[in-house]
Symmetry: C7
Subunit: 75 residues, 7 copies
């Protein structure tokens, strides 16, 4: 993982991020932790795959190999 990726993720610790997963699932949660495989810890997570009926997931661990995109919030 490039230093820039690490920097961006570190700057966004404690902030809301959007995560797209393989298979089409979308998540929205507060970034609590990550590692070099892009394994993520999110809290206050919502499953936003279906924007008309989001589902609360709370604290979750995401296995990094499922991650397609991580999108920090606009600054």
């Amino acid at each position: 993982m490039s230093e820039m990726t690490t920097d961006i993720l570190e700057q966004n610790l404690g902030k809301i991020v959007l995560v797209r997963l393989k298979g089409g699932k979308s998540l929205r949660g507060r970034l609590k932790g990550f590692d070099q495989h892009l394994n993520l810890v999110l809290e206050e997570t919502d499953d936003t795959t279906n924007i008309e009926s989001t589902r609360k997931l709370g604290l979750i661990i995401v296995r990094g190999d499922n991650v397609v995109l991580i999108s920090p919030p606009p600054r």
Copy 2:
């Protein structure tokens, strides 16, 4: 696996967790063990993929590469 992931999983040993697998399967069971690949041992597991007809699986070993999310219970 980050130290935070390990900490969260250790804090939830003996507690009910939700697990989403690749392919769409959902499990709900008591976390009995895990390793750094996210291989999991769950007991009292229900297959909750179809929420209208869950199925009892009891004690199971989950191969980690199938795991998408692990969600500890709300505290």
Copy 3:
């Protein structure tokens, strides 16, 4: 593979286990052997994917990367 996984599999050698594979196949057979990749040797195996018409497979070797779940019998 965690020590717990190894212990559970060792305790179930010679017993009937259920195995779910990627792609949806389900097997039911007597656990005769395993290794750290979850490659399995099962005997008296039935393909129980279609519960209305199971098929006898007898002795089989399962390549571990296909395994989703292994479920020992209730104690």
Copy 4:
């Protein structure tokens, strides 16, 4: 690969085995060789995916990562 897997495959060299591949293909052939990745050499192979119209493949090399199950003949 566990010693047991190697033993079973070695005991079946020269015998007819059934092989299920990812994607649903089924093969039936005489086991001529194998390695630790479950790469297989089969001869007199039939593609038995469609049991109503099997196709002769003769001598084949199967790349091991496609293998789901190997089933030796009943003894």
Copy 5:
């Protein structure tokens, strides 16, 4: 990653690139960073999968194993 790939990506830092992902998603964004796994950092990113209704994603991290193609702008 070949030196040529690195060179092309370095020459395009700060420029708009098109990225095609596995599963059919297309992105258009300003290349801000990359590493040897083709993990990418893009800013001002639009999801251009559906050209009739693009979606703003802003700053994103793309996990490299999802990348099919990267296309720098015409010079």
Copy 6:
């Protein structure tokens, strides 16, 4: 790759082989080279996926991880 696999491929250098790929594509070409990953070089290759309208591909390099089966011609 087992010595037997290497031997079979070496004995078939310069001969027509059939290759099945993941995703269902079938090729028929003269084996010109291979390596331990089953990367193949074929010449005079036809895409025989659709047996009613084969397509000429000529000289091709096949990335080994796509290979399911290699079938040398009957002797």
Copy 7:
């Protein structure tokens, strides 16, 4: 990658090649570079998946793990 594969690719530097990708995409472009993972740099690339409406992609980087076949032009 075998020496033969490297030789073929080197002989075709600067020439038009056809590339088939996993998922069915076909590309046609001038080979400008490659590495041992079959990561490719192509220029003047057309997406020829739909032969009735090809699309210009220009200079592209192809991540090697998507490559199925590379076909140099007939000599």
